[in-house]
């Protein structure tokens, strides 16, 4: 089988390229290969959409929890500030 045929029918390789694309530029050849595959493969088109949604959601999840009501208990904080003061007075 020619290389091009291989990628056209290979969802494993296509999803690999989709992931690579989300983090860096694909080479010209990879771009063409992926585009041809996606043109003919509805499964991987859906995967591509979902992959992007998942990336955004994971990001939101991490960022929102950074501002949302997780607190250290006051005793721990008091001790911590005390340690800092001790270090400062050394």
């Amino acid at each position: 089988m020619s290389h091009l045929k291989k990628i056209i029918y290979n969802c494993k390789q296509a999803t690999y390229l989709i992931e690579k694309k989300s983090a860096q530029r694909l080479s010209f050849r990879e771009t063409v290969e992926l585009r041809i595959h996606l043109y003919g493969c509805s499964f991987c088109r859906l995967f591509s959409k979902q992959s992007a949604v998942i990336n955004n959601m994971v990001k939101e999840l991490f960022n929102s929890s950074a501002g949302s009501g997780i607190h250290l208990d006051d005793d721990f904080k008091k001790e911590l500030q005390q340690r800092i003061e001790e270090e400062l007075n050394k």
């Binding site: 494993k12 992931e19 859906l46 994971v58 950074a66 607190h71 911590l80």
Partner: protein, 183 residues
Amino acid sequence: MTLNPHNWVSAHADYLYSFAITRLNDEEQAKDLVQETFLAALQKVNNFEGKSSERTWLTAILKNKIIDVYRKKSSGLRPVQEKNDEQTVDFFEEDGHWKTEHGPKEFGIEDKDHLVTREFEQILKKCMQKLPALWMAVFTMKHIEDEPTETICAELKVTASNFWVIIHRAKLNLRACLQKNWI
């Protein structure tokens, strides 16, 4: 910008703690790292150039400590070989086609104006916790911290080709877990 260590705990401790806990999922460890961050910061006060805010500077110190934890956690799990990939062999046929039972199905959240429910978020969290430590470390460093690929490979001692294999597998497994638990 100047530093004011007398104010650090009240100004930044909660922020740093939640930053750590979302990335480590371990309360005790997160607490330890917050403490270590402040103490390490005190040693470096003279290096602070005032180019960033106090919080950004402290967060950078914490980030490095988190990476250390990732590295320790994941050092027992490599190498991930391309050949005997038990984790992806499940999703695809020999020829690279999706296996019928693993082909992606609509979640109903693919469109831009989707409303992601709390329930979906909870499932996502659980699915992320199922990922092996090394995958999770690579995935978050790439997609959350936006670290350059070379940095991640160097920090976690993975090769460039393994890096993409891990990113790929992490997503395949995450997506499959969502499909299994959501639809």
